[in-house]
Amino acid sequence: MIDLVGYGAFFLTTALIFSLITLGLNLQWGLTGLFNVGLAGFVAIGAYTSALLTTPDDPARLGGLDLPILIGWLGAMVVGGLAAALTGIATLRLRSDYLAITTFGVAVVVQLVALNAQKLTGGPFGIGFIPRPFGGLAETPLLFNLSNLAIVSAVTLAAYLALEHLSRSPWGRVLKALREDERAAISLGKSARFYRVQAFAVGGAIMALAGALQAHFIGFIAPDNYLPMLTFQVWVMLIVGGSGSNTGAVAGSVLVWAIWAGSGALTSVLFSPEQQARAAAPQIVAIGVMLCVILLVRPSGLFGDRPRRVRTTRPSGTTAPESSGS
């Protein structure tokens, strides 16, 4: 029974960290319509920044400033936000696809730095001994898990409330207006690029914070935690929950993570260790197909605030040709 509670707390903590990433993505995509396929990179930036700021000094690498955990989290948000802002400034004046390609590149480069800049990131072995909040309680796992859950819940709740407030504020309304009808919003004197860079930066900061939370929860980070798979999982969570809705982002994360962890547990019971890598593949295929099916059948997900207004007059030259049907 106690074990079950402990596992439940562990599961929820992980799911809520995912929720936090999804909330960041919802601000970028759901509210503003900015496509980020490199979010794993921003999560990694947060995790590594916070780890470098808070770990004890280590002669083998730079950093290790031994600062308080809260400073690490703040630092993660600042660096993640700056990285996102730079990405946005570089690409948001161009077509939306360029942002997608650039964020993809950011994730590749962050992964590369994490793997190869041994002096900074510890290389493939990652960084250990990241201080954990309530580390003193580690003797009693139940209490430790529950207190971590409390912290992560508090942070996620705070982010949720802040985002709910933001999306109803004048700032959020501008973002929605830009998403729905850019020309109308611009003609009302709103600078599309400026607002988008802001939204992208805030979203990136939230993702980085989530990365930092997770790093301090697990106590150890390595480049393998931030593969494109992470990006993919979070996207599925947002689309299942319904992009545009913060409630949907949280619900989708918990639901998809439950499916993911459940089927993962199932494969580890059913298959021998050497078969497991292979057995995990259909799980990913299934989730990928699920993403495509939801996009086709119910693009608004569980809680989405769409359907978006279908544009009847599209600017010529930017319309996609309709292949079939003709």
Binding site: I101, S316, A320
Partner: protein
């Protein structure tokens, strides 16, 4: 600096360039960046590998041509693989992309291609496992070309093949009616439709050309390096960078972009170290986006 980087760069560059042709055509004609294009590459390669296996099961061991590492089975298999990859692209368009395109939101199609890419790649991992395989394990003797540059017979043959394919695609694009229709559609979709261009046909041709070339690029990687489920996904960033550097919609641009990135990667490997090669495309991409976002041969969208 050793001049060997020129040969290495041209080879990597042709692989990137062949892939980038597909990316640039999908981008300019269907107006979305296809994140599944790398996985077309991997699927084509594994299909070719499977056909080679089937042929050698039927005809026994076939001796290689001249001093190449492969015989006629690989050539036949490559043709089958190209057709297969073209059809795979068509199928994916039919069940997924075409339906989403009709909803009129380009970026949703990009997202779907990202999901499809993940599913396709994991399916390969499931069928063939993630262990690398090879077309041939034979080691080729490289011939010295002078100035310390060496090249293997396989590399010469593949460079020639890439050149022939690029020239043919360029001729198709500029000399045939379908090719001109493709250009028209990419430059002004509305006007192209008004003058009665068969959009469905152009879309089909685009997928088939893109898929077939992706397969060739994949098989090149398979012959010269190795075959892995992730082989195409890892090429995605260089291909996008090459397509944007060359200018979206331009076939010669995509190839030139690929060669530039290939040469830059190869010289970075010599100067900085192989582990940083993936960063080269990103840096080139960022420079292009800041300095000249329409690329070398691009034109402003109307």
């Amino acid at each position: 600096m050793n001049l060997q980087f020129v040969v290495d760069g041209l080879l990597t560059g042709s692989m990137i360039g062949l892939g980038a042709i597909g990316v640039t055509l999908t981008y300019s004609i269907l107006r979305f960046s296809n994140f599944a294009h790398g996985d077309f590459m991997a699927w084509g390669t594994y299909a070719t590998l499977a056909v080679v296996g089937a042929i050698s099961a039927m005809f026994g061991k076939v001796s290689p041509i001249g001093s190449l590492s492969f015989g006629w089975p690989l050539i036949v298999a490559l043709v089958v693989g190209m057709a297969f990859t073209g059809l795979l692209a068509l199928l994916l368009d039919m069940v997924l992309f075409a339906r989403l395109r009709r909803q009129g939101q380009a970026i949703i199609v990009v997202m779907a291609s990202f999901g499809a890419s993940m599913a396709l790649r994991s399916l390969l991992e499931f069928i063939f496992t993630s262990r690398p395989t090879y077309f041939s394990r034979a080691i080729q003797i490289a011939m010295p070309l002078g100035f310390g540059v060496r090249i293997t017979p396989d590399q010469i043959a593949l460079l020639l093949l890439a050149a022939v394919l690029v020239v043919s695609v360029h001729l198709i694009m500029t000399r045939t009616q379908t090719g001109r229709a493709m250009q028209a559609l990419s430059q002004n979709a509305a006007l192209a439709r008004v003058i009665g261009i068969d959009v469905a046909k152009v879309v089909r041709v685009t997928w088939i050309i893109g898929g077939a070339l992706a397969c060739v690029a994949g098989v090149m990687i398979g012959i010269l390096i190795q075959i892995r489920p992730f082989m195409g996904f890892d090429m995605l960033l260089p291909m996008f960078a090459a397509a944007i550097l060359g200018g979206i919609g331009s076939v010669p641009g995509a190839v030139l972009g690929g060669l530039i990135i290939g040469l830059a990667e190869a010289s970075a490997v010599q100067l900085i170290g192989a582990e940083w090669r993936a960063a080269v495309s990103f840096i080139i991409l960022m420079v292009v986006l800041f300095v000249r976002p329409i690329g070398l041969f691009g034109f402003r969208e109307r």
